[in-house]
Symmetry: C2
Subunit: 436 residues, 2 copies
């Protein structure tokens, strides 16, 4: 970026998608960022602003004059403005709200009222609503008036006198319809909608299920108060997926990107689960202590503990992850429990037998242990796989039934449970067969 | 479903979204399904058909007369028809293609030519394209002619004489523009597009990044050949997420839903990884065998093996899952390696010290081991957490750099590696400090 070629830079920037401009801006020095940002035309500036991360936004706002801030804030869609305000410190929030025009401020405050992660908090209040008695020509006239400020016009919702949602008409239907048709004749009366209080994850999944690009949001009385657009639904899906991954790895989910999170915050999100799991592993230790005498006689048996524990843990996670994902995609329900258990049981028998057989060959020919010891280890392996698969499929289903997120029953917990069970089986069988 | 109330059933069905009708149909008996399906009006029938699972589709097609099959197939969007054909057995495919009208058949074959999981395979060839010299009024007329068969008209693409993509105009811009404006004046010349050969996961991520509802697909010469719509992008995102979950749990991904997959197929997708991991665990066993004498003197040490292995594994998965997800969302890149390693190192010191301190208290007061033994265990714990966090963050980054999917470096592999390392540390420290 040379000082003189601002005009050329501007010409290049306006050809780029906002997300790419934002990525480019994150590489700029703190000093040149406001300069370059001012080159952007108003609407592109607002779109780019939305794509930037909150630190950069904060830095930019501090450099803005009141007039500049006003221009950006009023150009933002209301849902983006509300999201911005949630990220900024209190003094910046005050400045933003002061610069927003009264109507925008009212709408922002409206959205901020809704609980975090609810449909209300991710909706926008800028949409076009039509009335049933309008003709197609009236409707298109209204869209031309209001469409500039609306986030999307792909779906136009029809309301009655009490602002209650009574139908939907897509822009495509409008364009294909006759100019004199009444909206009530061409509208679809059966609209999928959500309440403001609905969880955002449910909302996002409805987009996937019903192939939507817009979803109307209604209040307790069925009045249309906003719309959620598909781009926000995709963001929610990505966020929820990240949360699921984190929960499965025993991490308390955080909203911030990794590189922006402080060491102390990362530590805080990870240490509780490490502690809980460490203390749970004590039980496994107790089992070993209990069979200390047996181990003294057959120290050899110790060498197979890691293999048994790991194979059990892996078998269990395979089953639990399959079930957790199935529940999350609504492919599985609690009433399928017995079908799932039966299927996992069959898989467990097959997998357990395969692993035991291969292990038997290895034990006899490579490790050259006695037949009895090989038998103890292989039988344990077989039973461990069975127990692990069943634990792995039953626990997430029970968690879901009890109203918990089944994801907490992912690998770390299943592994801890299976560890203890596999050692119990190991020592029981060893004492029985080897007579120690 | 009573025999007589077909009319009433039809009235209820037409008020329901296709996805819900499909869910309802999956509960029907094999015999009544074709009867009820015939109640649906043509367009709703096609939309519902798309939402059904492939077994039911197969069953329905077998019951269809040629005329019925023809009606459904020609009503389907071309991308859905192509997806259907990929799922059906060869004889059914032949019947479907025979019933499709020649133009549809040509388009279906076009899509089927592209490799699986490419942009070409998920696109539809039914879209409206405009020319630069048209006026807005011309354009709207053209949309009214072609729009009925087009999957979406939210974005209309502008092409030149050689069918090359030169711009895009949204239906909203068209509606808000003056009737006499030329398209070249109002169109946006900078269109994000993908090549037919692009991977579908990249395509889906572009929707998320650029907040798109439609994405144009061009061939090697820049000619517009199709469009991908956001609903298909969401399906791809969900599919890829499921695959990531499966890979993280050491399962070879399959496309079929769990309840439809046979026991043998599930076994086949799980057993190779279980075997590989079981055999890798042998090294851990070898380490134990190597220190058998030390263990004979201090059998007590065995009791802490599971706790050390589990804590190491959990610490490692936390780091690896964080890094894997960051890579997948493009929040992290290879050049961040040193920042990540440094951050994880600090987190590891903190987390390791916390766990070691709490464990020390437990060892001294509850387990009442000697000070030296407690010291050995806590030092091992601390070092294991450090090694695990570093392994967990470095391996996925290296895998990505080497061109592999970093997901394969998730918990199961990290755990196996960390197990071996933690035992090595344990016994080294034990032999040094306890002098065995």
């Amino acid at each position: 970026i040379e000082e003189k070629s601002f005009q050329r830079l501007r010409d290049i920037l306006i050809t780029m998608p906002p997300a790419d401009i934002a990525a480019l801006f994150s590489e700029l020095s703190e000093k040149s960022l406001p300069l370059v940002f001012r080159l952007l035309p108003k609407d592109l500036a607002a779109e780019t602003f939305v794509e930037m991360d909150s630190d950069l936004q904060h830095h930019l706002i501090q450099g803005f004059s009141d007039a500049e801030l006003q221009a950006v804030v009023n150009e933002l869609y209301v849902d983006d403005a509300a999201a911005l305000i949630e990220e900024m410190p209190a003094n910046v929030v005050k400045r933003i709200l002061r610069q927003a025009d009264p109507e925008t401020r009212r709408q922002i405050n409206e959205i901020l009222k809704y609980p975090e992660d609810s449909a209300g908090s991710i909706m926008t209040t800028e949409f076009v609503s039509l009335r049933a008695h309008m003709t197609v020509a009236d409707a298109i006239k209204r869209i031309r008036q209001l469409g500039v400020d609306s986030e999307t016009i792909n779906a136009c919702y029809v309301t009655d006198d009490g602002r209650r949602l009574i139908g939907v008409v897509s822009i495509r239907t409008l364009i294909l319809a006759n100019e004199n048709d009444r909206i009530e004749k061409i509208m679809n009366r059966y609209v999928v909608s959500v309440r403001t209080t609905e969880d955002q994850e449910t909302v996002a999944k409805m987009f996937a299920k019903y192939d939507l690009t817009v979803l109307p949001v209604v209040d307790g009385e069925g009045r249309l108060v906003g719309i959620v657009t598909v781009d926000d639904a995709i963001d929610v899906l990505q966020e929820e997926t990240t949360e699921d991954f984190e929960k499965m790895a025993a991490i308390t989910p955080t909203d911030r990107p990794y590189l922006k999170t402080s060491v102390l915050e990362i530590w805080k999100s990870r240490i509780p689960w490490l502690l809980v799991l460490m203390i749970s592993a004590t039980f496994t230790g107790l089992i070993i202590s209990h069979f200390e005498d047996a181990l003294k006689t057959y120290v050899l048996l110790t060498a197979y503990i890691p293999m048994l524990m790991d194979t059990g843990g892996n078998s269990g996670s395979q089953a639990s992850v399959t079930v957790i994902r199935g529940l999350s995609l609504n492919e599985l329900e609690f009433r399928d429990l017995f079908r799932i258990v039966w299927k996992e049981f069959q898989v467990a028998i097959l997998a357990g037998a395969t692993l035991a057989a291969i292990n038997f060959v290895k034990l006899m020919f490579f490790d050259q242990v006695t037949l009895l010891v090989a038998f103890v280890i292989c039988l344990t392996l077989f039973l461990t796989v069975c127990v692990a698969k069943l634990t792995g499929c039953i626990f997430p289903m029970l968690a879901q039934k009890a109203g918990f997120d089944p994801v907490v029953m992912a690998s770390p917990f299943i592994t801890t449970i299976v560890d203890a069970l596999s050692l119990l089986i190991y020592f029981r069988i060893a004492t029985m067969i080897l007579g120690i």
